[in-house]
């Protein structure tokens, strides 16, 4: 995506590059050929625009109104937050499959802290994040000191954490809508519920187009803040540089003085932290902590990262891209749902979108389309020449 260059180089954007030694593009065709990779990198936005257009064309106002969009994005916010953490891990060349389970245990922790200890959300959220960070730390230590491949380590963690979650909850969902004798929500429960309300009146006002009328809820704000913070961390800090270096070439990173172990542990811990943080949001949104909450969320998170242009090989990708990827997935879900397409078909569509996104995202996609067409044409010419030669009795 464009962000890849932007990450390493935002200051340079408006600057005119020094002329290339061999001279710049001369003809319109050459100029166009140069622009093509840039077009390809905009693909994420193209996909987003496409999904929105399909939504507007098929459902019009039912799709493009504040309530629907806010609800759709709120429902996906917790998965979006997971996707940011997963993006960090993938950038270092690893993978984190345990985030769904960690979200689950985060939501269970939140519900239990609320029901048993009646804590305020201001305490619950950081505590859940810490719980998540602990499991993330374990992942990091396993992949570095014990040299277990991250796929295996986090797959094991997925299972372990889910087991703990089900054990402590005794396989029973814990509701967060605590009421007093009169049937009203208790103070802390009401505060907690706000964490997940889609139409909460925060950030209301006409200055915010479309959404301002209804207001934006905490889940969306949390997602946006997380995205902004981590995009800045990746693009502006030393740690961000080191993340890209470790993912791009671990040996070179090590020999350049990057503490590869620390960076790896840190990204896993951050991924766990974000998953734990997303737990209370998910619990508040669904008004209960289900022992199965977050099951297979890791796949949505990875899909969002991949659609957003993150390479599983590491070293390539941005949080901005992941955000766009998450938006595409969300709105796609929403559009398909509004059109009453069955869950099964939705799954199929989602899968196809991931494949399509990866193919189109190649920087040379448009270029190879052009050259592929040219090759096809040439191949046909060649064939006709050869045929002619054969007809003339002069085979090669």
């Amino acid at each position: 995506m464009t962000e890849t260059t932007r990450t390493t180089d935002p200051a340079n954007k408006g600057r005119v590059e020094p002329p290339v030694a061999n001279g710049g593009p001369k003809t319109t065709k050459e100029r166009l050929a140069r622009m093509l990779p840039a077009l390809g990198s905009l693909q994420g936005y193209i996909g987003l625009v496409l999904v929105v257009l399909i939504g507007i064309i098929t459902k019009g106002q039912i799709f493009w109104n504040q309530t629907n969009l806010t609800n759709a994005i709120t429902a996906f916010a917790s998965r979006g937050i997971l996707a940011v953490g997963v993006t960090l891990v993938i950038l270092t060349g690893g993978i984190d499959l345990s985030v769904g389970s960690v979200l689950g245990i985060g939501s269970m922790t939140a519900a239990m802290l609320l029901t048993h200890l009646n804590l305020t959300p201001w305490l619950i959220v950081p505590l859940c994040a810490l719980v998540g960070a602990f499991f993330g730390l374990c992942n990091g230590i396993g992949t570095t000191w014990l040299r277990i491949q991250s796929f295996v380590m986090t797959l094991a963690m997925l299972s372990v954490v889910r087991g703990i979650d089900r054990q402590v909850s005794d396989n029973v969902a814990v509701g967060t809508q605590l009421t007093d004798a009169q049937g009203h929500l208790t103070g802390q429960a009401a505060a907690f519920a706000k964490l997940g309300t889609p139409g909460h009146n925060l950030l209301r006002g006409n200055w915010l187009p479309l959404f301002g009328q209804v207001g934006i809820g905490y889940p969306v704000i949390a997602l946006v803040v997380v995205c902004v913070v981590f995009q800045l961390v990746l693009s502006k800090t030393r740690f961000g540089r080191h993340v890209y270096a470790v993912g791009g070439n671990p040996t070179a990173a090590k020999l350049s003085g990057v503490n590869v172990t620390a960076v790896t542990i840190a990204v896993f811990a951050l991924s766990g932290l974000l998953a734990g943080f997303a737990g209370p949001i998910d619990a508040a949104y669904s008004a209960s902590a289900d022992p199965l909450a977050g099951t297979s969320y890791e796949l949505d998170a990875i899909a969002a990262a991949v659609i957003g242009g993150t390479s599983l090989a590491g070293g390539k990708g941005t949080v901005t891209g992941t955000f766009v990827g998450a938006l595409i997935l969300t709105l796609l879900d929403n559009v398909l749902g509004l059109n009453q397409i069955s869950d099964n078909l939705q799954l199929i569509t989602k899968g196809l979108i991931v494949v399509l996104a990866v193919v189109i995202q190649r920087p040379d996609f448009f270029r190879s389309l052009v050259s592929g067409a040219r090759r096809l044409r040439r191949g046909r010419n060649l064939k006709s020449t050869v045929d002619k030669q054969k007809a003339e009795g002069a085979p090669q």
Binding site: N12, T237, R238, A245, N249, A252
Partner: protein, 506 residues
């Protein structure tokens, strides 16, 4: 090939290059790194599909758009980094992608082994076809590549730097194989930076420069000097510019006593056994030795790249204990690693990203955010100083030529301002022009008081550049040679080679 052009996003282009190979002829392709040799050969091998211009075989125009097309026309290419699957046997590799089938549809290993044994026999390689490629030496692997090529009705063989990793005797065997091939009417395109070899094996030479065609000469009618001038575009002065009177007088900067390592068994890393040596600031010390003698290991041990080591080291007069690269960098040590792609560069990131990777701390403000203005200026200054040819600081390192990639690695190390510079094969696979620039850079660094330790497989380079040469064999020092005869035994190639092959006494 006629008038072939090719462009890469923003970096280099091939402009109207032509090349003719006659039946049974060895054509050498010469040019600096980035001149377009590899690009041209990759077009021929079908790696790059979108080029302009035409290719003719036997006067017939052919279109090569995939490696498969190339194979159909009997064109095979042996890359510098060999393309073999190490975990498969020789026979499996020779037949990779063209496995013969039995009537039942399974692979016919009997046929494969018999045919492979026959091919290996033709090449004078007496290794059973079942041997895993993993267990073959580099020279053997190269011959396996040749066998693979022979297996497909070979008409034109492209060899990219085939001798860069071979010992002398192995080179002679390879040349014998090449002569055998040409006698059978196979055309050979031979890419090498070693001019002396070309005189021995090539019939004619084609020179490229900056993606353009410079000229063609019959090998018998040209001289090395003329070829170098053609490649560089200007007559080159002395190849190794360090003058003997620029003797270093600095204090001892690095002192090593009893340096020893115990690598994990089976890791292929040579254990170092009690090395003693000193390097003065402003001195260039060469490390000579055969492959696997432990030269790289010495540099990496000092750099802390292989963990803790035994022995007493002092650096700049203070005690120094190598443990990890970060600490070495903080003490002013920099390493230019042997394999720039594997060990030094993040290929898919930008020139700027790579250049400041080591010294990033210098451009960090509070909260560890990067001061990008300062960073950009520093990178601009460094790549200007080293004359790195890149369209911009944001170009991907992957798209640069080998010589320019190496300069990026040097820029990265020098940006940290090292007082001890460890260079591991700094000029391998680099053209004459870039080589001379790197030599000049080493000289000026030494004059500024940097202590330099350099490993090279090219003995003339060490003899031309160094004040002292230490010779390693099987992880221990077996010789020390001085430029100045007053201090001990003087440089002599024969003595150094003898020391490099000195077996353990006991």
């Amino acid at each position: 090939m006629r008038s072939v052009s090719k462009s890469f996003p923003g970096v280099r282009a091939l402009r109207d290059v032509g090349l003719t190979v006659h039946v049974g002829e060895v054509v050498a392709l010469l040019g600096e790194n980035g001149a377009g040799k590899s690009t041209l050969m990759n077009i021929l091998a079908g790696v790059h599909a979108d080029y302009e211009g035409g290719i003719e075989i036997d006067g017939q125009p052919v279109f090569i758009h995939s490696p498969k097309d190339a194979a159909r026309h009997g064109i095979a290419m042996i890359h510098q980094e060999l393309n073999l699957v190490p975990e498969l046997s020789i026979a499996d590799n020779v037949f990779l992608g063209r496995e013969p089938r039995t009537p039942r549809g399974t692979i016919d290993r009997g046929v494969m082994r018999a045919r492979t044994a026959e091919l290996l026999g033709q090449l004078g390689l007496r290794v059973p076809p079942r041997t895993l490629v993993r267990d073959c030496g580099i020279a053997e692997r190269q011959l396996v590549e040749v066998a693979k090529a022979l297996n497909l009705n070979l008409r034109l063989l492209v060899m990219d730097e085939p001798t860069s990793a071979l010992a002398d005797s192995e080179v002679h065997r390879l040349f014998a194989v090449i002569r055998e091939l040409t006698a059978r009417g196979v055309g050979v395109i031979y890419i090498s930076h070693r001019l002396a070899e070309l005189a021995e094996i090539a019939d004619s030479v084609t020179v490229l420069r900056d993606g353009g065609y410079v000229g063609e000469r019959a090998m018998a009618e040209t001289t090395a000097a003329e070829l170098v001038a053609m490649m560089v575009g200007r007559p080159l002065g002395e190849l190794f510019p360090r003058a003997p009177e620029q003797r270093s007088t600095g204090p001892v900067w690095l002192a090593v006593r009893g340096l020893a390592t115990t690598p994990k068994p089976g890791s292929g890393v040579r254990a170092l056994r009690g090395l003693d040596f000193q390097v003065r600031s402003g001195e260039i010390v060469g490390l000579a030795g055969l492959m696997g003698a432990g030269r790289t290991e010495v540099l990496e041990a000092i750099y802390g790249a292989c963990g803790a080591v035994d022995g007493e080291l002092t650096l700049g007069g203070r005690h120094y204990r190598p443990s990890r690269p970060r600490r070495a960098i903080r003490r002013g040590v920099a390493l230019v690693a042997e394999d720039r792609k594997a060990k030094s560069l993040v290929l898919d990131n930008t020139v700027r990203f790579n250049t400041t990777l080591v010294a990033l701390d210098r451009y960090v403000r509070p909260w560890r955010t990067v001061d990008r203005r300062a960073e950009r200026l520093a990178v601009a200054a460094k790549i200007g100083e080293l004359r790195v040819k890149t369209p911009s600081q944001t170009a991907l390192v992957r798209n640069l030529s080998g010589g320019n990639q190496q300069k990026v690695v040097l820029a990265k190390c020098l940006l940290a301002g090292p007082s001890l510079l460890l260079l591991d094969e700094p000029t391998r696979g680099i053209d004459v022009g870039a080589k001379a620039e790197i030599h000049a850079l080493m000289n000026s660094l030494a004059e500024q008081g940097t202590a330099i330790v350099v490993v090279s497989s090219e003995l003339p380079e060490l003899i031309g550049m160094c004040d002292r040469i230490l010779v390693l064999c099987e992880g221990r020092l077996t010789g020390e040679f001085h430029r100045d005869t007053g201090n001990g035994s003087a440089f002599d190639q024969e003595g150094i080679l003898t020391a490099a092959m000195a077996r353990e006494a006991a």
